[in-house]
């Protein structure tokens, strides 16, 4: 088999046209997923079973099923339902882009809320007690003591999830979106050269992953200034 390096050099710029869409999918669903994750976390640790139980079911379903299935259900399944077509969400759900964002956000929110919960549980109880003993309210304790410490604790897992979400954005190509992966598939369909094209797109994803990891390493270092003396 011959390997066409020229085709790699040719297709990388074509696929980079889709990098904007990849980033849009990534950043928008990361922002929404993070907000959802925080919301689910608060329900989960509220100490009220009627808030915590549905949250656990939600998390179980979205972590327990393939994201591809979730994307298909939202894109192909929901429009079948009349009340969905009549709802205020229809302008979002009738577009493949909206469906991809909804699916990625719902999915990543479930993962993130568990990551956040791990961070919150990792905060030494003595610290919140000390704050309580000073008369600081439950809400203020969560904002000023628990959150900043928990954020630092969950940063490594969070960065993992960002990388994983970035890779999941490629699934948007299955519902007609022309992100980098979508463009790659189009080129393959035209050239019948899957190796060259998919290797090119792999290289781009690897570079993005590298950038995400470097960014989080830097944030982690900055946020750990106060513990540098500890081993």
């Amino acid at each position: 088999m011959s390997f066409d390096f020229e085709l790699i050099l040719d297709s990388i710029p074509k696929m980079l046209v889709g990098i904007g869409l990849t980033f849009e999918l990534l950043f928008l669903s990361l922002a929404l997923g993070t907000a959802l994750g925080i919301f689910l976390l608060i329900l989960r640790i509220s100490g009220r079973w009627y808030l915590a139980a549905p949250t656990m079911v939600y998390i179980y379903i979205f972590r327990g099923t393939p994201i591809l299935v979730q994307i298909f259900i939202i894109y192909y399944g929901l429009p079948q339902l009349e009340f969905v077509r009549d709802s205020i969400f229809w302008p979002i759900l009738k577009e493949p882009f909206g469906c991809a964002i909804v699916a990625l956000s719902l999915n990543t929110g479930a993962y993130l809320s568990e990551i956040f919960r791990g961070g919150v549980l990792g905060v030494d109880r003595g610290l919140t007690e000390a704050a309580a003993a000073l008369g600081i309210s439950v809400r203020q304790r969560f904002i000023y003591i628990t959150s900043p410490i928990a954020i630092r604790l969950c940063l490594p897992a969070y960065s993992n999830d960002v990388v994983s979400l970035m890779k999941s954005t490629a699934l948007a190509s299955t519902i007609t979106l022309l992100d980098m992966m979508g463009i790659a598939r189009t080129i393959v369909a035209e050239t019948y050269a899957p190796y060259e094209v998919f290797i090119s797109v792999m290289v781009i994803y690897l570079v993005i992953t590298w950038a995400i990891q470097r960014t989080f390493a830097w944030i982690e270092k900055r946020m750990s200034r106060h513990v540098r003396r500890e081993a």
Binding site: A133, L134, H226, V227
Partner: protein, 250 residues
């Protein structure tokens, strides 16, 4: 001070506390007057920490009555916050906020709870750091300080809220021996200035020189209490005698 002049700061009446089926406090009665210093001692698991943690409601008692400076501790959040503003606490493991500098540890509660202006908070925090003799550490992180220094910061942090009462939960137990005295010195200063204090401690020298009342607990009960002279030289109960023999023998 005659009994009639004694202004009660803390009253515990028949207080019970359960953890599941385990009874940590059994019908505890204790009163502490303004300016009095009480040292609570006893074997581990005897309920000493639980007792003082009930006073600022880090634990909720199950039966009986606790009144702190006129506020009865009930389920009402307002009462709990009122009590916590007036009662400072110092923990065995310091519990300084690791993500805040020393000075920010001191300034956080006044900012959030009292809502006093920043400049005023800062001035007061510096004054208190001078009082515990570590003003030069103000801008360091807690992890950069020794245990003794961290505990002195913790005392200053409690003082920032102008408490009427301070609870000490084994404040020197986690310290290396050479750092114990620097913390006890700060506590002795506070005692001399007339602070109302309850201190869970096995520092018997401290108890002897500072306490108005020494309380011995075992298995959730107050077994014996009295002024240090009587308590140490003439204990009545056999359990107290045994305990004192064990901890004073080395």
């Amino acid at each position: 001070m005659s009994k009639a002049d004694r202004q009660l700061m803390i009253e515990l009446e028949n207080v019970d506390k359960f953890f599941g089926s385990f009874q940590a406090l059994k019908g505890v009665n204790l009163t502490v007057g303004k300016g009095e210093k009480v040292v609570v001692c006893g074997p581990s698991g005897s309920g000493k920490s639980t007792l003082i943690r009930c006073i600022n409601r880090l634990e909720q008692h199950n039966n009986g009555k606790i009144v702190v400076n006129g506020h009865e501790l009930t389920g009402a959040v307002k009462d709990i916050d009122a009590v916590r503003r007036e009662v400072g606490m110092v923990f065995q493991s310091f519990n300084l906020f690791p993500h805040l500098t020393v000075i920010d540890n001191l300034m956080l509660a006044p900012k959030l709870v009292r809502k006093t202006p920043k400049a005023e908070n800062r001035k007061k925090a510096m004054r208190l750091l001078e009082r515990v003799k570590i003003p030069e550490q103000a801008d360091k992180w807690p992890s950069q300080l020794s245990g003794g220094q961290q505990q002195r910061v913790a005392i200053a942090r409690a003082l920032c809220m102008n408490p009427e009462i301070i609870l000490f939960d084994e404040p020197t137990s986690a310290l290396d021996p050479e750092m114990i005295s620097e913390v006890l010195d700060v506590m002795i200063d506070l005692a001399r200035e007339g602070m109302t204090m309850i201190c869970v401690s096995h520092e018997m020298g401290f108890a002897r020189s500072v306490a108005d009342n020494v309380v011995f607990m075992d298995e959730g009960e107050i077994v014996e209490s009295g002024p240090p002279g009587t308590f140490f030289d003439n204990p009545k109960n056999d359990r107290t005698k045994l305990f004192l023999k064990q901890i004073l023998s080395h």
